[in-house]
Symmetry: C2
Subunit: 217 residues, 2 copies
DNA sequence: AAGCAGTTGTTAATATATTAACTATAATGT
DNA sequence: ACATTATAGTTAATATATTAACAACTGCTT
């Protein structure tokens, strides 16, 4: 019996971290681990770890703990890493190029198939053997190729329009680096990487001690 | 009287978004806005907006709403944008270069003062007039220059060691792009940008409908 | 000038997330 | 084989975060 309760984002955001720590354990030849031991490494409570994992299945065994390799694979599957993903990058500026060059994603099963830009100076250049194409051809390209994830690295001004094109042509996942909140239908998932916002939370915390001393009440 | 209650990260992470939307309102010549109107734009509830802002002061006026420019400035101050920040980038790979090239941060008051790497092929090259220095000289540099934020873009293997050097020499804020959880003393603040983790939450959600259908119970 | 509509700041209620406690079970040692 | 220890899964308690309700106040209209 399935019960289909939606898993909270708080839980989902911890899953990749479990995945990462388990891989580290594997490379250290650790075969089994208890929620308590893992909690000491990863910094969540043992209780939280058991709660999190239990959302998806009974992966452990009482009196024993979790088999590291098995748990790693299970979490990989939960994260969808049993499949591979075709991506395209739109926007070959700083971030777009950095993502295109970054090789670690291919290890996880992501293959970048194309890069688009509107700058004539960039069109035709190659990044890791992938030519930068004219964004004019984006819609055409999407009709002919099966793309799972659009990686949006354009300036803010173009982001919504490109998004509309992606969505219209069947892309249902967008990794968004543009500093804007995109409007999409319910079936499309978006993950934002808002670098400026991230940086500003850092300056907030850098100044917080002073600040809390000053404010009202 | 101050009461110094620590503001929750949930609130802090919304502040930059208020800041961004308020700037947009300013550029659209909007003078005043109510929590209700803002809630429709930004997608938080009006109640949450009032609660969030009220952590820091009484910025609004009953029957009127909030003065956009004033609120923008207040939130800027809360985020520490009344000050400027000297940054250095450690690691001149894809991400390091992208951040170095990205000009938007300087508008917010961040000045990147130096870039470090250990690759002899990169040392000496310039990015936006800033030469890439040998990471051997990092400690020396930190002793002579006042750096507020270290932007860590090295591979995982070097990240903790560099962090230790930064911390030892007085850097109390680290913006970390390396896929690792850094160990630092309590007075040092860290903001992680874990791109792989971000991407994996996207694939999770892309596959969630299937997944929730299958799992136990 | 009075009353109405709008809106905040704040308190109360609800919902969500985290942590702790407990129960059942498996592994281990003697 | 039995007793002991370890540990997961699960339920209960607590803490946190979000949303709703409301009283106090402001600005606007007539």
């Amino acid at each position: 019996m399935s019960d289909r309760r939606q898993i909270s984002m708080a839980v989902v955001r911890r899953l990749p971290k479990y995945h990462r720590y388990l891989l580290e354990l594997i490379s250290n030849d650790v075969d089994r681990i208890s929620s308590k031991e893992l909690s000491e490494k990863i910094g969540f409570t043992a209780s939280q770890i058991r709660q999190d994992l239990n959302n998806f299945g009974d992966f452990g065994q009482q009196g024993y703990g979790y088999n590291v390799k098995e748990l790693y694979n299970q979490i990989g599957n939960i994260l969808g890493l049993n499949e591979t993903y075709n991506t395209i990058i739109i926007g070959a500026g700083n971030i777009g190029q950095a993502i295109a060059n970054y090789s670690n994603f291919s290890k996880l099963g992501f293959t970048n198939q194309a890069i688009f830009d509107k700058n004539p100076k960039l069109i035709g250049l190659k990044i890791r053997d992938i030519a930068i194409l004219d964004v004019e051809f984006l819609e055409d390209y999407l009709k002919k190729n099966n793309i799972d994830i659009g990686i949006l690295c354009t300036p803010r001004e173009q982001a919504q329009e490109i998004t509309d094109t992606l969505v219209k042509n069947g892309v249902t996942a967008i990794w968004n680096f543009a500093p804007i909140d995109l409007q999409v239908p319910d079936n499309v998932v978006i993950e934002n990487v808002h670098l400026s916002e991230s940086l500003l939370t850092l300056t907030y915390r850098l100044n917080e001690p002073k600040l809390l001393h000053d404010i009202k009440k």
